[in-house]
């Protein structure tokens, strides 16, 4: 089975800190994604990457950046954490080749980030 691992399950940070959220997948997937999930708002796409060193903005990229130096690892960076970035952050990956059937997403367990 595909495994998507997020480095932290819970994280508490202070306003203004630089925060790194790490995500690793073990199935040679091309695509990787970062979503945030808030009550009543559902899943919103922050950034995604379809190849090493490639990235594209999602719906809510402001205040975030990403890094993909290796195929299996996709990092989300909060440059200067703010309280409105308190959320559940979910990483996902998909194969990205072979047609529609391979575009299903595999999610990590999520990181609940609290910014105080």
């Amino acid at each position: 089975d595909v495994k998507v691992t997020q480095s932290s399950r819970y994280l508490v940070k202070r306003t203004g800190e630089k925060v790194f959220l790490e995500c690793v997948q073990d199935m040679d997937h091309e695509n990787m994604f970062w979503y945030r999930q808030d009550p009543g708002l559902g899943l919103r796409l922050i950034y995604f990457s379809y190849d090493v060193k490639m990235k594209e903005k999602g719906d809510i990229p402001e205040g975030y950046s990403v890094s993909r130096e290796k195929k299996e690892r996709f990092s989300l960076i909060l440059e200067s954490a703010s309280t409105n970035q308190t959320s559940m952050y979910l990483c996902a990956s998909s194969l990205g080749r072979g047609g529609v059937d391979f575009e299903k997403l595999f999610f990590g367990s999520g990181t609940q980030l609290s910014v105080l």
Binding site: F33, V100, L105, F107, S109, G110
Partner: protein
């Protein structure tokens, strides 16, 4: 802009009954649609994918239909069990550039509770 609506935020049914969840979309015609299950504090898990030319898809007690005329997908769980209690998300691909790269647009989900 594309819009996804799931019929209600919460659905409560008795064990053994069939649960029917609705996903309506507007302003575009997705080539396929995915359904996910999400348990509290966990990432979503892929359940089923249905293409626009498939009227129905089944997997064990799950059935998904796709009506391109009504712009609607129905998700059924037959002989429901308390273990089916979770939030169910529908997710068609996003419009525009990158829409074939597995970028999904998630509905807000329907929270299903199956009581004994």
């Amino acid at each position: 802009s594309q819009k996804i609506e799931q019929n209600s935020e919460a659905l409560n049914i008795q064990e053994g009954k069939t649960a029917t969840l609705t996903c309506n979309y507007t302003n575009y015609s997705p080539a396929y649609l995915q359904w996910y299950r999400q348990d509290p504090g966990r990432g979503p898990v892929f359940l089923l994918l249905i293409r626009e030319n498939e009227k129905e898809k089944r997997k064990e007690r799950l059935k998904v239909t796709f009506d391109t005329t009504l712009k609607q997908s129905l998700f059924h769980i037959t002989a429901s069990q308390p273990a089916d209690s979770a939030t169910y998300l529908c997710a068609p691909p996003r419009l525009g550039r990158g829409s074939t790269l597995g970028r999904l647009y998630f509905g807000r989900g329907t929270q299903l509770t199956v009581w004994p």
